[in-house]
């Protein structure tokens, strides 16, 4: 892999500016046309505590990071004790001079006085920029490649600040040139075949942007890691478009307000994680029963309870599907790339309105907090479909006590006409109780049966129509193995599959993008084509495997590869695990 890409990493204490170091480097590289994937690891404390940022720089799209890196900037002991062990043999470590260098690994380790460099040309707080300079030099870039990005980043603080940062940057470059010239350009970046314009976008922002693009102008939410960036994005953008993001008293209020706004005709949503989803369960049932198009972005983190709030996991699958009591008709999408995060969130609003039900976009921490280059969404493909909303113009006059049959059971697809309250001649009721066709509560058995079947029929209709339930890379009709994953393991699995194929194995790969209703039929065909089935997931109870078995009769043995240590999955490990199973 090495020749085709570079993994850069910086580790230090939270608050040392590592995040902006990575951001600036990535932004500049994005402008140069590289494909990037950035991921930060952090702990649940505000200041202090180890954090590290990895950036993969490539000529073709990459969707995750590797465990190892080529160039490591080490600003604290933790980095030397842990991260330095994962470096490539031919890798390079630039370590802060003030750290005791008891490094005994294979890589080349060079002490650099980042603080001094920074202090000389600015303040010691800018040691991250000094490290940036050194990075630039080792990667064979020049100050020109970075200047514009630095300017943009700091211009709000004044031209002086810009100048100071540029000076520190240059000093970093200069230091390598003069003090360690052997490092100059020693890790050249991959060659770019063609240069396309990309966005460099955080998963949570991609989902927020997807919502906004779909016309969502109402959001109510409550802060929670790793979902807060969705609300933080929305609050910045919504008001100008005539919308509003409200941070409310709790998740119950957030979800219920969004449901109220959706009932009111707005495209409305909330975003949350673990505990928040648990609190929303009752309202999800209300939205399902009243057939209200509620959208929830849910980003999984380590559970149960408060769990591991800043760590990755995929253990809320069952909760996303089943946390509401009763037979609940809803849709759960599970995007597997940041790009799908954008499109699925966009589409969630269409589906919610077309099928008049809650839609959960089930992401995970890596998907939410990973940052990736992504092609500009195709404007022409962004179609808004609102489903069966009955407009005033098509309504004949009615008067009390006649109601519009909002919950008509006449349609074979289960989808009845929806009315936006306020519409003349469309008056109807809604209730979380079982109800008749006008929304009046009823306990009549035949109506109960019909309404239950109506709601579930919508899901069948949807499943029959939906084209994106699976992301399939299955060239073999008789495969040695099928690897199944969901959400953000997509890239990692794809890379492992690629390696295995190069080794001569016939491996198919399906990433499940729709979890409810479960696309069992479609998936089954791939299952039947493979000798072994490997289900890869980030939890301890094999939830995806359970789902697959639940929906497939005579389901063959499923091999589980489970990870639940809070870390994301790395190619190296997954490859080893797959080989064990194969």
């Amino acid at each position: 892999m090495k020749s085709r890409e570079i993994t850069w990493q910086a580790g230090g204490q939270q608050g040392e500016g590592l995040e902006s170091l990575g951001e600036i480097l990535a932004s500049a590289l994005n402008h140069l046309g590289y494909e990037l994937y950035g991921f930060r690891q952090f702990s649940s404390r505000i200041k202090g505590g180890h954090t590290n940022y990895k950036l993969r720089i490539a000529a073709k799209a990459v969707g995750t990071i590797h465990k190892s890196c080529d160039l490591l900037i080490a600003l604290d002991k933790d980095t030397m004790q842990n991260e330095a062990l994962n470096i490539q043999e031919q890798g390079i470590i630039l370590v802060d001079s003030i750290l005791a260098q008891d490094y005994s690994g294979q890589a080349r380790c060079v002490a650099i006085p980042f603080k001094d460099i920074a202090q000389k040309h600015g303040s010691q707080l800018q040691k991250n920029i000094a490290a940036l300079g050194c990075t630039v030099a080792v990667l064979g870039l020049t100050e020109e490649d970075l200047e514009e990005t630095l300017r943009k980043k700091f211009i709000a603080k004044g031209a002086e600040v810009v100048a100071e940062n540029v000076a520190v940057l240059k000093a970093g470059i200069e230091y390598i040139k003069t003090e360690v010239p052997s490092l100059l350009g020693v890790l050249p970046l991959p060659e770019l075949k063609h240069k396309e314009q990309h966005l460099f976008i955080l998963g949570n922002e991609a989902m927020g942007f997807g919502a906004l693009s779909a016309g969502a102008k109402f959001m109510a939410a409550y802060p929670i890691t790793p979902a807060s960036e969705v609300m933080e994005y929305m609050v910045k953008k919504a008001r100008k478009l005539g919308g509003q993001m409200l941070q409310v008293e709790d998740e119950i209020a957030a979800c219920t307000m969004a449901t109220g706004a959706a009932y009111g005709g707005a495209r409305a949503f909330t975003a949350t994680s673990g505990p928040g989803l648990s609190l929303m369960s009752e309202t999800i049932g209300l939205a399902a029963m009243t057939e209200t198009p509620l959208v929830i972005v849910h980003s999984q983190r380590g559970g149960p309870s408060t769990g591991l709030p800043t760590k990755h996991e995929q253990s809320d699958v069952f909760a996303a599907l089943y946390n509401t009591h009763g037979d609940t008709a809803k849709i759960v999408l599970s995007p597997s790339t940041i790009e799908e995060g954008f499109y699925d969130t966009f589409e969630a609003f269409n589906l919610a309105e077309e099928y008049q039900c809650p839609v959960i976009v089930l992401a995970d921490l890596q998907l939410s907090l990973g940052k990736q280059t992504m092609l500009i969404p195709e404007y022409d493909k962004m179609e808004i479909r609102r489903g069966n909303i009955v407009e005033a113009s098509s309504l004949p006059p009615i008067k009390a006590p006649e109601y519009f049959p909002r919950y008509s059971v006449a349609q074979t697809d289960g989808i009845s006409g929806r009315i936006i309250p306020g519409t003349p001649n469309g008056i109807c009721l809604g209730t979380g109780l079982e109800h008749d066709e006008s929304g009046r509560p009823t306990e009549a058995k035949d109506m109960r049966i019909k309404q239950t079947e109506k709601r579930l029929q919508k899901m069948k209709t949807f499943l029959a129509n939906y084209k994106k339930a699976l992301a399939v890379d299955a060239p073999y009709s008789e495969a040695d193995a099928l690897v199944i994953g969901m959400t953000s393991t997509r890239s990692c699995i794809a890379e492992v599959v690629e390696i295995l194929r190069q080794e001569g194995k016939k491996i198919n790969h399906v990433q499940v993008r729709l979890l409810l209703p479960f696309p069992a039929k479609e998936l089954e065909q791939y299952i039947r084509q493979a000798k072994k089935i490997i289900v890869v997931e980030h939890n301890a109870t094999a939830q995806l495997a359970g789902l697959i078995r639940m929906h497939i009769e005579q389901c063959p043995h499923l091999e589980n590869i489970l990870q639940y240590d809070g870390d994301i999955m790395y190619t190296e490990q997954l490859l080893a695990s797959c080989k064990e199973v194969l």
Partner: protein, 287 residues
């Protein structure tokens, strides 16, 4: 102009004969007629309880939500559709037990909706348990030897939350209640109307007679100033909350809609593809 009949839906309420909620229903219907509303311009959002069935008995848009969550739903609805008249309803368990947090935050948020709380000092629908408004010593299925928790003072709570409109009515005073509801809907911000609406089946203490004996109309209190928070509070303390009328109004605090700018630029109902230039501008953040 709509008349009373236009707000009747011919559904026979499943309230017990004599329940205080009938009067609230009637008063509300009269009030909306008086306000010149058309049925389709009104949306009733209810919690769960006997009182929660309210939205099913008036010909208008209605949503019967979950227990204690009428207010979050109503606030979302109002912001999405500002032209709609949104009235939330519920019982004392709904609003003061499970929903208390929402009630308090809705009051301070001051979105332009009206909240009608049918206060019978008991849980009606679940057949007679103590409510947070039950008197000390009140005997119910869950307090067979008498309630031991001090009742919530709705009025003190609302004042503490920064209410801009607090009214209190009584099911036996139909005209006063109607007037109060009219004033509440007209108030530009969140208005709370607490109605003493007796439960004739499970509350044999706080009956029509009991309330009639105790309630004092603020009009009968010399020099009562509904704009003076401190003074209002003293009256509330003195009368243990048993007042009726427009108890408090503050017109200086702007509504959420005003202060957020939504009053001028609310486009939530317009669900459209982003204009190309807006889309391009949004892209800028990610280069």
């Amino acid at each position: 102009m709509a008349v009373l009949q236009d707000f009747k839906n011919n559904v026979k309420p499943n309230w017990c004969p004599g329940c205080g909620d009938y009067a609230v229903q009637m008063a509300l219907q009269k009030a909306v007629v008086q306000l010149g509303m058309e049925p389709h311009e009104l949306a009733l959002v209810c919690g769960i309880g006997c009182s929660g069935r309210f939205s099913g008995y008036i010909y208008a848009y209605g949503m019967h939500t979950t227990h204690g969550r009428a207010l979050p739903f109503a606030q979302g609805l109002k912001l999405a559709n500002p032209k709609l008249n949104v009235i939330a309803c519920g019982g004392d368990g709904d609003g003061m037990a499970i929903g208390l947090g929402h009630t308090f935050h809705a009051i301070r948020r001051n979105i332009n909706i009206t909240y009608v709380l049918m206060d019978n000092h008991v849980y009606g629908l679940t057949k007679g348990q103590t409510s947070p408004r039950s008197d000390l010593g009140f005997k119910t299925k869950t307090t067979p030897t008498g309630n031991i928790e001090t009742p919530v003072s709705t009025l003190e709570m609302a004042l503490a939350a920064g209410a801009t409109f607090i009214g209190q009515g009584f099911s036996l005073q139909l005209q006063e209640l109607t007037d109060l509801l009219v004033a509440a809907v007209r108030h530009p911000g969140f208005s709370l109307v607490n109605v003493f609406s007796p439960c004739v089946t499970f509350n044999k203490v706080n009956t029509y007679e009991w309330f009639k004996d105790k309630l004092v109309d603020v009009k009968d209190i010399g020099g009562y100033d509904a704009g003076d928070k401190g003074a209002v509070l003293n009256h509330v303390l003195e009368h243990e909350g048993l007042l009726t009328g427009l108890l408090y109004e503050n017109l200086t605090k702007p509504s959420y809609e005003k202060i957020s700018g939504l009053a001028k630029n609310n486009q939530m109902q317009s669900v459209k593809k982003l204009a190309p230039d807006v889309f391009s501008e949004l892209l800028e953040d990610f280069y």
